[in-house]
Every structure is written in C-alpha cells, then in structure tokens.
C-alpha cells in the first residue's frame, strides 16, 4: 500500500517537484478561489485564464519555451484583456460576463493560431494543459513566489476582503479614512493574473483555474462560515494535487487534467452529498 501511495514521490525527482508545485499552487491559489467564488467572479476568472493564451503564444513565437518570456507575455495579455473588458462594459451595452466571453473566445482563437504557426500539436497541448511533470527549479520558484504573494495579501487584507464581499457599499462608506473599497476588485484581478500565469506551466491555460475554484466550490457544501471554508478548501486542494498526481502516475494519465478531475470529482460529490445546500440536503427537507 505504501508503495502505491508514497514510492512514486520517493523514487522520482520529477514527481517530487510536481508534488511540491501542485501543493504550493493549491495552498496559494485556493484562498483566492474561495473569495472569487463568494464574489461571483468564477466565470470572469475562467475567461481571464483563457485570455492569457495569446500573450504566452506570442512569447513562445519570439523566444520559444522560455519561462520568463511566457510569464511576461501572459501578464501583458491578461492586463490588456481586463482593460478591454472594462472599456467594453463602460462604453457598450455588454455586461461584464458577455464582454469577457467575447474577449476570451477571441483570445483563445488568436492564441491557438499563433502557436500553430510555429509549432506542432505537442507544444499546443503543453500550453493548453501544462506539464507539471516537467516543472524545473525556476518554474517552482515562480509558483512559490506567486503563492506566497497571494497568501500574504489575502492574510493582510482578510477582514477588508470579507466585508467587501458581504456588503461592498458598507465598506465604501464606512471605509472612508481607511482606504475605501474601490481598489479591491482591481487587487483581485492582479492577484488572479499573477496566479494564473504562474500556474499555466503546471496546469496549462485551460486548467490553471481548476485547482483554485473547484476546491472552493466543494468546501461551500460543507462549511457554514468563511473561517472554516478557507482551510477546508485548502485541504481539498492539497488532497486533489496529491491524488491527481498519484492517479496520473499509476494510470499514465496526463497529470494536470488528473488533478483537476480529482478536484472536480470532489466538488461534484460534495454537491450531491454535502451537508449544506446539496442534493441530499434538498431531498431531506
């Protein structure tokens, strides 16, 4: 049994690095995911995760599979898409979700086309779905830096973030003299972009959001208050990272999708049998 559960990580350095990257991503990204879910920003987050592809693809065209070039390219693309979406919402009749949908589909199309110009399907798959087993030391440092930054910012501003999600107008009024509330959304976008770009190497642009959001969704069905929801979501994310890598190793499945499948499976099971707001709770009413 121990062979089955521990040996892959004990025997292979690439599995150790993959586990470290996945656990760090889980710990750093999930609190952000919980707050995004509570602020009803999950779809926007999903759209933004796809929107970074053209930047990464353009950097790939210029500099190949360079971590730093693709990181900068992804960040630039994310910022451009966020600004373009804000401009569309302000100047047209499109709502935020529709503006992001338009831009992310466009981004995805541009990104895939750009990668296809120079490359074969393998590189495209790498960018879309990541390759956590190929994580090297610089990528691990990038993931660690992004996760530490997220955790630090969320811990430092925890009370403000909770109140802003619950009743943003209250913070806008009562927060005067204490920094107001207007920048909380922008802060979220910045943290989200940094995390998505850091995570794409491991999980790809299509899967990067999975480890942030799915554990958060699962925790909603078990925890009554945010104080319990955060550690529970982080625990579910860490378990998903470990179990996903293990499944990937034993079944020969791609690692990023395996992690997301475990997290998604847990979220689905929680929706069915969780103690709060689940199908089971509905049937027992």
């Amino acid at each position: 049994m121990i062979d089955l559960l521990i040996t892959p990580f004990a025997d292979y350095a690439f599995m150790k690095r993959a586990l470290a990257a996945a656990v760090i991503l889980a710990l750093g990204g999930t609190p952000l995911g919980v707050f995004m879910m509570l602020r009803r920003m999950t779809l926007v987050g999903d759209a933004l995760s796809h929107a970074i592809l053209p930047g990464i693809a353009a950097a790939f065209l210029v500099a190949g599979l360079s971590l730093w070039a693709m990181t900068i390219g992804g960040l630039v693309a994310a910022v451009l898409v966020a600004f373009a979406a804000a401009l569309l919402v302000r100047t047209t009749q499109l709502k935020e979700d529709a503006a992001f949908t338009l831009l992310y589909l466009l981004s995805l199309g541009i990104g895939v086309t750009l990668v296809s110009i120079k490359s074969d399907g393998v590189n495209l798959l790498h960018l879309l779905f990541g390759n956590i087993l190929a994580i090297d030391a610089p990528a691990l440092w990038l993931v660690t830096g992004a996760s530490c930054l997220s955790l630090f910012v969320i811990a430092a501003l925890y009370r403000r973030l909770v109140i802003d999600g619950f009743d943003p107008d209250f913070l806008a009024v009562a927060g005067k003299g204490r920094g107001g509330a207007g920048w909380t959304n922008q802060l979220f976008f910045i943290l989200l972009m940094i995390n998505l770009v850091a995570a794409f190497q491991a999980l790809g642009t299509l899967m990067a959001l999975g480890l942030m959001i799915l554990p958060a969704l699962a925790s909603r069905f078990w925890a009554r208050t945010i104080d319990c929801m955060l550690p529970l979501a982080m625990g579910i994310a860490v378990f998903s990272a470990y179990a996903g890598l293990l499944l990937s190793y034993h079944l020969g499945a791609p690692s990023g999708p395996a992690i997301v499948l475990v997290a998604g499976g847990l979220a689905l099971i929680s929706a069915l049998v969780g103690r709060l707001g689940s199908v089971r709770a509905y049937l027992m009413q």
């Binding site: 009370r159 009743d167 209250f170 104080d227």
Partner: protein, 247 residues
C-alpha cells in the same frame, strides 16, 4: 426644511447613468439633528440620492457638500437586496463588521469588542441567534442585524434605504423606536420610505423626489399642500416648476 446648520448640502446635482438621468438638478440641504423621510415613486432617484450623500455614487454635475464635522461619520444602511445574504458569515461576525471604522483591517476584534457586538444583537432582539449563519435569518431578522451593525458603527449621520420594506409590523415598530432614540441623541437621520403612514407619524421633515426635487419641508405642510397625500398616485407627481421649496 430646517437646514441650520446644514450637514449635507446638494447644489444642482445631476446623476446620469448612461443616457438615463437618475437625478436632475436637485438642490437642498439637511440640517444637523433632523429626521427626514425621502419619498417618491419607484425610479424617482431616492436610492441614488442616498448613495450620492454616502459617497458611493458621484454626481455627473453639481456638488455635494458634507460638513467637516461629520466627514467619516456617515452610516449607510442599504436595501436588503443589495447585501449578499448567502455570504458565509455568522450573525455575530456580520454584526461585528460594524466595528470596522474603529478597528479597520489591523486592530484585533478583542473579546470586549465582540461582547459589544453581542450586546447590540441582544438590543435588536437577536439574542440566541449569534451563532447562526446570516442566510438562516428571515428578512425582518436580517434588517435587525443591519441595525445592530449600524448601532456598533455609531455614526452621526444615518442614511437608510427602505429599512422597513417587507418586514413585519413588530419589527418595524422595534426599529422605528431605535430610529427615534437615535434622533433624540442628536443624530441626523435621512430615510427613504414608501409608507406615507409612517412618514406622517414619525418623520418631522420630508423631501419628495421624482427625478427632480418636487418639494421639501415640514411633513405636515407637505400633507396640507397635497404634495404628500394618501390619495397621491406616486406615478403622476406634479412637475417641479409647479411647486416651491418650503424651507
């Protein structure tokens, strides 16, 4: 309306959202320690006016002047629908957010502070419900919670947006009592209301709004002049040039 000394003054304020003018060229003032009802039909700009005074909405043109002594001393009670009632907070945690002006992001929510939050909940009639989640509260209980938060915040100016909408008579009675107590303590209270009975019975001053300011002043005078009337069809309010300010 009694404006001496004025705490909040609106000078030719217009608020525009895209092509729609929510408020047009509204002027007026609210004096210190007054208790004013803001009435008008749906879409009259009542909530926009409160948000304007709270600093949540900015004027497209004109000015909102807040007296220096009450800057940072404004409390805003939103419509219940504007608050996320399914947010995963306990009732006590939600009430304690009223301590934000005192503790901000950095100071600890000590036992003494949490005791104050618990006492505020007792005062609004939510004893024994501190540990429940806010999603488990009824509409009336939730409104009581928002009043407890306001009590902890203890501002000098209170802006309340339809605080008695869709709540039972007992809760309304309780919360009106709290408003009157705050008024007695010298706080300035501006309250958006639909219920003309409540306005006539409890609010000495009123302001009638329908995109523009149709009239303001002592409530009984507005009733005498039929600007406020139980027969009034709020959708067919008079044009603003037909009425005068009654300061």
């Amino acid at each position: 309306m009694t404006c001496c000394p004025p705490i909040i003054t609106l000078e030719n304020v217009t608020v525009q959202f895209g092509p729609h003018k929510a408020l047009q060229d509204v002027s007026g003032c609210f004096g210190a320690g007054t208790l004013t009802a803001v009435a008008g039909p749906n879409g009259a700009g009542k909530s926009t006016m409160l948000k304007l005074m709270a600093g949540i909405v900015r004027p497209s043109s004109g000015r909102v002047l807040i007296a220096p002594e009450v800057r940072g001393q404004i409390g805003y009670l939103p419509q219940i629908s504007a608050v996320q009632r399914d947010y995963p907070l306990s009732v006590l945690q939600a009430a304690s957010t009223g301590l934000w002006p005192e503790v901000g992001n950095d100071r600890a929510l000590t036992d003494a502070r949490m005791d104050r939050a618990a006492r505020a909940l007792v005062e609004v009639g939510l004893r024994g419900k501190e540990g429940r989640t806010i999603g488990q509260l009824s509409g009336g209980e939730f409104q009581r919670l928002l009043f407890a938060r306001l009590m902890l915040q203890d501002p000098q100016v209170l802006l309340l947006d339809e605080p008695f909408a869709a709540i039972d008579a007992q809760t309304t009675h309780k919360l009106i009592g709290m408003l009157l107590d705050w008024h007695k303590k010298g706080k300035t209270i501006i309250c958006v209301l639909h219920d003309l009975l409540l306005i006539r019975k409890y609010f000495p001053d009123s302001l009638l709004l329908a995109g523009k300011c149709l009239g303001s002043g002592h409530t009984h005078k507005l009733f005498e002049q039929n600007l406020l009337s139980f027969d009034l069809d709020m959708a067919e309010l008079r044009e603003p040039d037909e009425v005068h300010d009654h300061d």
